[in-house]
Point group: C2
Chain length 735, copies 2
């Protein structure tokens, strides 16, 4: 998983203060019932075996397996072999030649502290220490961040906590805490502030809440030990950085060279390194400057100071070896061909590449998805059942570097996916055994809820509390916060895993779900550490793999909701309710606040006028969709259903702006594209929010003129998308 | 019709010297037979009545009816009323609020000649003289070009014939001849050269080949009389100039203001006026300078000179009134709903707005299309027949200003058209009674040929020569010029009429056809003059409306080929043959010539390498499509046929580059987008040709570096389109 799912949740939670972002069912009709489909799903679910998942996990995580390496190719081949054995069709590698990034496995990245004579008085090993006997792969010990610049820099340190560094960072090495911000944004902010290097560490306040001694950390608990670090990518984007909106097929043209990427600062131009909190402590102990404000003080037993620099004229040296290399990656694909509509597909996916062993992220998901495909084939072979539409099981590669495998696939198969794919069900990891986190397009939110309702909760402590299903505990821990709904909280689509290119570039409705424990923040403490081995899973997180099985069952229910529902399970009422009751009011409120400023008025007015027109169209469309009778429709003739389903698919494509939002060719969804200001933003129509923010902040008339036009234009494009949606539901070319 | 169809043909003819651009059937299979469909088509054709067409034409052309005026609204309402009477479904106005341009109807544009004291010694009336008693609408007399700048300028004249004006035009008023170049390009070149005004006239050498006296011109012949002018638009583009790639819906955001358009020189910034050759003669009689080279001498009885300026210090003054106004336009739409696949559409279209009365351009086509829709309804009512797929009869408005009605429609209904439209059959005018001119996507070239084969030629002089069908005379007058084919010559899609947005923006295969006489150049001589009344048609061009009927029959055959063929009539073999045997070899030849220049080598090589890869992919795809057996496929089950047809439609969309070719968001077809260097170019993959030309001409290393990258990139994008095409034909996600 590229970015913290829980971060996403919590940031979104913070952003949507007031509880405006909740799914609901008050205004929309219940899902269409399909007893026959339900019977098949239930029988398939029973065939999922926790022991198979456990065995899969053990095999997948024998070594570290970073994308683009021989070790990861071994994993790919094994998944392919098993998938063939299960009996899936057209099992094959889907390959791309992409720009990845590696450390020098023989020369670990490290930091040094030099005294005033330049003598090294401390040097980090750049390696984390193995803690269980499974951790035998020495390469997993290395501490690094993908796409860091190579080089050694020396200078003074400043502590920026989680804040955006400003003037104080210029010419300095910044030290930042892992927090709500995506690490790519931390690195980018450091570059923009003129820093010469960047260190990021996880503070015990978040990752070692029981203490930092051996009894309070891994291997006794699931908390982060002193020498561990969170690895990850610091590239902000999707797919091979060299080929935006173009597939990285062997030999084919690459739009950008590595030099272009550095010139455009599309990848970091300074060395960036994750350090363990044991090393952070050594730094903080020496820091000059004033003690920090209370919120900046972390959990290390030392007084945190801002710097700049160390006492006694000591200096910090940061050395990073980083090579960017073109490597071959392979998505592993396998198919179950639909009986009635073979060219309509649901994608069931999870990535398989990992920063280290990957026993949580992502192979808890991989192992489960493999077992789901096996169970489906077993059921088909036993009963002669075959789903009505096709299923693509996709194991993505190089997700960790920036959704590279799925992103390139979405670019190569753009037309096929846009015209044939009806939904994407993506998972990433089983991060705990307590509750769900769900991210979906509003249109298919009901699919995830229905699946969760059907699956029993595997954790006895939940069941004892009366929360018998996955749905019950989800709703309990993520309750609705408004009076529009009694449903559990779901986020609108945002970044973070392989579903992103499918909704954002192609307009396909997505379902993404993971599980989590309750006491972890901002993610599970051992996220992207070398300790993600089966030991962690089998001894701490999900010993009997019952949560894995439950997740597999949710996969089955979600997949069959797409393949075997006669009428596609798209709930337009939920979409339009969200639009008219949440998304638009949130923007209206911003307009009304901002327009109190008389100076801004003139720049806001053209957009505000367009916004008023948009509201009217959405209101009309809302009324139209609430008059639809899905239950009746689903009893139509096959030919009529085909027309209706095609129209529903077409409608989703209305929200794709062909040339991209605000100039980003890969980010094309008019309702759900990640904010350019904040990659994590869960704001619907983020481009409108972004432009409002920019207008509010801007002081330059000429720039504001341009922003003012852009604001009206972006709202105009959203408006046309809803007009298009209206057309899609009507007999062709309605007057 | 916005631009000369015959110009297109002849320019393309010149460009493709060597005959590289001809359709053929040598390598592809004959069209799939469909006896049942043929029987219906034949019976419908018989119901088309020439007298109805004549009556339609008389009603449509009672007055001049420029788009956006009350007079044109009258025409629209009449078409709507008749279409409702015929029994079509969902007949309605599809309206847009667009920026059009008009003269001051009370104050005609004109030229004056001033003596050295500034005294006016000659002033043109700015009106053409009526020559028949039908010509009663005084507004049709006015001489103007749409989107000219307003203003009066005074100075010296230079004669540029058809050449691009260069330094000599700076600060001058240029006089140019109507020729192969689109008048918009003439005006644009004048602006770019720094001219202060621009006059365009039709030389008798082309338009009055029998002499300029009354016995040799209209009303005795179809040749241009001394006072007539060709009106037209000088805007180069599609749709409302303010809203590229966005529909001009009432109240909605307009990206560009009139000021923006002038600043960007997207519309002319100088006065531009068409003058009759009688006025041109007055100018040439006074010209200073050297006599022109022989090729520049025209048919006026005067020695043509270059200028600059007049003898005796006389000056020219040019006065143009031009108001750009937002006006409402209305496309008239009517439907026949398909019985089996109501959401699959063929569009049968013609525009109805005219510069004057429009009896040739466009209402010869309008009158015919109306009668086709009537005949179809009559047949349906009589027999109970109903086409399997739906038909949209579309009468477009404001085509003359720049494909405005069709362009806005294509932008509003982008998603619906891309997913539902299977073909567009567009006509524009019946310009003569001898032979056809055909422009089609290669995929559907066979549809037009099949239609032409079935329809008898209405002209006895052709039949006497043994050319019994429309096909026979077409092949005779436009023979194949290579040894690959015995088929008549067809052009690849280019600009010129309302089919353009459908193939170029949306990727829908188009068929466009008009008729012509043989002795006319560059179009019929009375093109866009005030003399386009029924008198011209009934007394000279097609007295008994038999050619109109024949064209109506071709409409019927073409429409039913789309609606009633079980397998879509897309011939991929023809497309791939054209690609591998013509389009790619033409580019290879250019590369090989250019690479003889060692200095260019370095800039061409990246593109050349990409080109080699592209050739290989196309060769493989060519082999694959030649193994398809359409006859067998067309006997498949309905479900299988649906899958196959959807794949064929999807394949065509592979050639649409979402963000546009070379930055033009409206011009998106990777194979067939009009050249940016020359709007008329019939070159396939014109962007590659354009870039090669620019590299050859460029002398700046940095610019060439950029062009070199762009060349490799554009070829890469074409390559990916063919990879996509391959995917569309394969079971999903072929390995």
């Amino acid at each position: 998983m590229k970015i913290h799912w829980l971060v996403l949740a919590l940031v979104a939670n913070a952003i949507m203060a007031g509880g405006a972002k909740f799914r609901h069912e008050k205004f929309h009709s219940p899902p269409v019932k399909s007893p026959e489909k339900d019977a098949h799903a239930e029988k398939i679910r029973k065939l999922i075996k926790p022991s198979n998942i456990r065995d899969n996990l053990r095999e997948l995580t024998k070594t570290g397996h970073v994308a683009g390496t021989e070790k990861n190719l071994r994993v790919a081949k094994w998944i392919r072999q098993k998938t063939i054995e299960y009996g899936l069709e057209n099992v094959h590698f889907n390959e791309y030649d992409v720009l990845l990034s590696y450390p020098d496995w023989k020369r670990p990245n490290h930091i040094e502290i030099l005294d005033s004579n330049g003598t090294v008085i401390h040097k980090s090993t750049g390696r984390s220490k193995p803690l269980t006997k499974e951790e035998t792969d020495e390469e997993t010990e290395l501490q690094w961040l993908a796409y860091s610049a190579e080089g050694a820099v020396q200078g003074d340190v400043v502590y920026i906590n989680k804040a955006t560094p400003e003037d104080i960072a210029h010419g300095k090495i910044v030290i930042a805490r892992y927090s709500h911000s995506f690490r790519g944004n931390i690195a980018k902010a450091a570059v923009q502030a003129g820093a010469i290097g960047c260190l990021i560490y996880s503070d015990p306040q978040q990752v070692a809440i029981l203490g930092t001694g051996p009894e309070a950390t891994y291997g006794k608990t699931d908390k982060m030990p002193p020498d561990a670090v969170q690895r990850g990518t610091i590239y902000i984007g999707v797919g091979d950085p060299r080929t935006p909106a173009f597939p990285s097929i062997k030999g084919l043209y690459k739009e950008k060279t590595e030099e272009d990427l550095l010139n455009e600062k599309a990848i970091p131009t300074i060395p960036v390194l994750p350090i363990p909190y044991s090393e952070a402590k050594i730094i903080f102990e020496r820091m000059n400057g004033k003690p920090v404000i209370p919120g900046f003080q972390g959990g290390l037993n030392v007084t945190y100071k801002y710097g700049p620099g160390f006492t006694n004229n000591q200096k910090l040296k940061l050395s990073v070896c980083s090579k960017k290399e073109e490597r071959k990656i392979q998505n592993v694909l396998g198919f179950i061909r639909g009986k009635e509509e073979p060219d309509r597909y649901v994608l069931a996916t999870n990535h398989y590449d990992a920063w280290t062993y990957g026993a949580v992220d992502p192979n808890s998901g991989t192992a489960t998805l493999m077992e789901v495909s096996r169970a489906m084939m077993e059921y088909m072979n036993k009963t002669g059942y075959r789903p009505a539409k096709s299923i693509l099981f996709g194991h993505w590669d190089a997700e960790e570097f920036g959704l590279v495998g799925s992103g390139e696939f979405a670019e190569e198969y753009r037309e096929q996916l846009m015209s044939r794919a009806i939904g994407v069900v993506n998972m990433d990891l089983i991060g705990g055994n307590q509750t769900l986190l769900g991210i979906t397009n509003p249109t298919v939110a009901n699919v995830l809820r229905s699946a969760a309702r059907k699956v029993e909760h595997p954790n006895p402590s939940e069941v004892q509390e009366g929360r018998k299903t996955m749905y019950d505990s989800w709703k309990f821990y993520s309750p609705s916060k408004n009076n529009r709904s009694n449903e559990p909280w779901q986020m609108i689509p945002a970044g973070g895993s392989d579903h992103l290119p499918f909704y954002n570039y192609l307009g396909i409705p997505i379902i993404f779900f993971v599980t989590r424990s309750l006491d972890t923040f901002p993610s599970y403490p051992l996220y992207h550490t070398m300790h993600e081995t089966p030991h962690l899973m089998e001894n701490i997180l999900d010993a009997d793999f019952k949560m894995h099985k439950a997740i597999g069952e949710m996969f089955v229910e979600s997949i069959l909701a797409f393949t075997d529902s006669k009428l596609l399970p798209y709930d337009l009422k939920e979409l339009l309710d969200d639009v008219t009751l949440e998304f638009l009011p949130a923007i209206r409120a911003r307009f009304e606040t901002a327009m109190k400023d008389k100076k801004l008025m003139k720049y806001l007015e053209p957009g505000y006028e367009q916004f008023g027109l948009l509201e009217k169209t959405c209101q009309l469309l809302n009324e139209q969709v609430h008059m639809r009778n899905e239950s009746l429709l689903s009893q139509s003739s096959a030919a009529r259903l085909k027309v209706e389903n095609d129209r529903l698919m077409e409608l989703e494509k209305c929200f794709i702006k062909p040339d991209g939002i605000l100039g980003n060719r890969q980010s094309r969804h008019l309702l759900f594209s990640p904010s350019q200001e904040n990659w994590y933003s869960g704001n619907a129509m983020s481009q409108v929010h972004d432009l409002l923010t920019r207008i509010e902040k801007s002081k330059n008339d000429k720039k504001m003129d341009k922003l003012s036009k852009a604001l009206a234009g972006e709202i105009g494009h959203i408006h046309v998308a809803f007009i298009c949606a209206k057309h899609s539901l009507s007999p062709f070319f309605a007057s």
